[in-house]
Structures are given as C-alpha cells and as structure tokens.
C-alpha cells in the first residue's frame, strides 16, 4: 500500500522542533512501521544575502562569515531532528536541506514529494508582529497544495 507523505518544516526555533516531536508522538507512535505516513523533514536554510540584507560596500566581506554561520546552524538543526527521530525510533525518514525562502521551499517540497500533509510550527505572533515579520505558517496554510497542520507550542501560563 502506498504510504502518504508527510512533510515537516523545520527551522532553528524551538517551536518547529516541538512541532516535530508532537507529530511523531501522535502520528508515528507506538509503532512507526504501521504509521500510514512516510516522513520527510525539510529544513529551509536562508541564503546569506537575505539574512544580511546589506548592499553597502562592506557586505561582500561579511557574507562568507554569515554563510558559514548559517551552514553551522543548518547542520545543527538537522542533527537535532535526527536525534528526535531516533529517540522515537522512527527510521524511515528523508531529510532535506533546501536553500532559499522557507515559504517557497516548503511549498515546493510538498509538490516534489506529492505530500498529503505539511506540518509547520508557529511562533504564535499576534496580528501586528505577523504582518511585520511575515509568517511562514500563514503563507503555507494558504498556498500549499495539500492539507496543512499548524502546531503551536503551548504557552507556559501560570494558572
């Protein structure tokens, strides 16, 4: 039986790693082999030019350092997600790192793998922050060609 594909978008934040853990807990346990989904983890690494955003004369010198930093962050994120998968004994995982804007990268990954679900974390920004900072989860929810699951990390409220 063909398994449907589930793409999980990961970045450097706690929220997306929480989303990965939540997804594994609810969809891939206790028996990962019997799960109806095949897991694909996608990390969108922003390119150095978008991260720096400078066009001044000093930009060219800074870029190599920024690029190296981003690569380190990217590999750390991939390592962490591999650890989380191993901890839940999920073995059949495809991991991908794509360079570029996360919004487009995730939607393209969905099309490439013909996914049926895209899972993203959410920072839980309010309306203003979301408009200013931009929201990948918002964009994906509207533009991905498949169902989208947005996982929020519960806020630690003192009740």
């Amino acid at each position: 039986m063909d398994k449907s594909v589930m793409v999980v978008g990961i970045d450097d934040s706690d929220h997306s790693l929480y989303a990965l853990e939540w997804t594994l807990k609810h969809f891939f346990s206790p028996a990962p082999e019997k799960s109806p989904f095949k897991l694909v983890i996608v990390h969108a690494k922003p390119s150095a030019t978008t991260a720096v955003g400078l066009t001044g004369p000093g930009a060219a010198e800074v870029l190599p350092y920024v690029e190296r930093d981003l690569k380190i962050i990217a590999s750390r994120v991939m390592e962490k997600s591999k650890e989380i998968c191993a901890a839940k004994s999920v073995k059949d995982v495809i991991m991908e790192a794509i360079e570029g804007d996360p919004r487009n990268a995730l939607c393209d990954a969905v099309d490439k793998h013909n996914a049926s679900v895209l899972v993203v974390g959410s920072h839980g920004y309010g309306a203003i922050k979301r408009a200013v900072l931009g929201s990948v989860s918002d964009y994906c929810a509207h533009h991905a060609h498949c169902s989208v699951m947005i996982v929020k990390k519960p806020r630690k409220n003192t009740k």
Binding site: H26, S137, A141, C146, S147, M149, I150
Partner: protein, 191 residues
C-alpha cells in the same frame, strides 16, 4: 497447582488485563472536527477517519464532531427601513436550522461508522459565530487537534467573506489541521 494458575493467566490474550490499565494511564487524544453544510468539511472528516484513525488502536482517541449554527440576524442595516422579522419567522428559521444541523450530524456519524466501527464519537451543536465558538469549545474541551476544512478562497474573497479556518489558525491555542479538498485538476493529474 500454582503453576497451573500461572499458565492459565498467561494464556489470556494480552488485550485483556494490561491493555486496559495502559489505556487508563494514557490520556486520550481528543480530535475535534468542525462540520458545516459544505462538502469540504465532510471531506475533512473523511480524511481524518482515513489517515488519523486508520491503523491505530481507536481506544486512544476521542472524536468530537461540532456543528455551529449562525444565529439569524435580527437587525437590519442602518439606513434601511427598520423592519424586524416577526417572531414566527424567527422561530421557523430556528427550527429549520436545528433540523439542518441534526441532519448534518447524522450524516457525519454515518460516515464515521461506515469507515471505522470503533471510534468513540461525541457530537455538539452550538449557536454563535462559528470562528469564536470553535476556538472557545476547543479550549473548554481541551482538545489536542482541531480539524477544519478549507474552501480554498483566494485572498480577496477571504478578506471580504471572512474565513473561519483563517481565524481558527490564528486564535486557537492547540494545533490546527486545515484539510484542503483536492481540485479536480490535481485529481486528474494524479490518476
């Protein structure tokens, strides 16, 4: 003789004693599916039944199906002559809405029992603004996942007509799954 009793216990299938204790310790995963009149929301219910409840032990899940009735507006736009609908009209509209709601829910329950016999279901009919009611009810019932369909409106239509799924994504305190009905174009390309 003790050995004989021990052997008798070991022959009981594992689903008997230990599994029941395990289920009590584990908290049930609550999934709430919001249903209205549209085909998209029934598609989302079917999707959940196929993918989430498919191969798992269905004792762990509690499926809540919720239908929200929008209240009949009893006011008119400013500038228009102030005509209030008479109570008999309001009453008949309410009755029609309630009948519609129970028809929708029984369709949903039929769909569930056809796909999967063992799922625990409870249903609710609430009145009010769908977006707010879904978020409030999800918080009250402490659900783990809200499932909602998407009509696939474009940006402008969504801003003008309002989108329940958009509101729920932003305001719900728990994970939200937006199920999109595949368009006929994508379905024919897959076939």
């Amino acid at each position: 003789m003790e050995k004989g009793i021990a052997e008798a216990f070991s022959s009981i299938p594992e689903g008997g004693g230990t599994a029941a204790i395990g289920a009590e310790e584990k908290k049930k995963v609550r999934v709430m599916v919001a249903i209205d009149d549209s085909g998209e929301s029934f598609y989302s219910l079917q999707w959940v039944l196929d993918h989430v409840f498919g191969s798992r032990n269905n004792d762990e899940f509690l499926l809540s199906i919720v239908h929200v009735i929008e209240p009949f507006p009893t006011y008119m736009l400013p500038g228009a002559p102030a005509v209030f609908p008479s109570t008999s009209i309001v009453r008949s509209v309410n009755k029609a809405q309630e009948e519609n709601a129970s028809a929708i829910l029984s369709r949903a329950i039929d769909m569930c029992t056809q796909t999967n016999q063992d799922v625990h279901i409870n249903t609710s009919i609430i009145e009010g603004d769908p977006k707010e009611m879904i978020c409030d009810l999800a918080e009250q019932m402490q659900v783990d996942l809200i499932v909602i369909g998407s009509r696939g409106l474009g940006k402008i239509k969504r801003a003008l007509m309002g989108s329940v799924s958009n509101y729920v994504i932003h305001h719900a305190k728990c994970p939200v799954l937006v199920v999109k009905t595949p368009t006929t174009k994508s379905m024919s390309s897959n076939a």
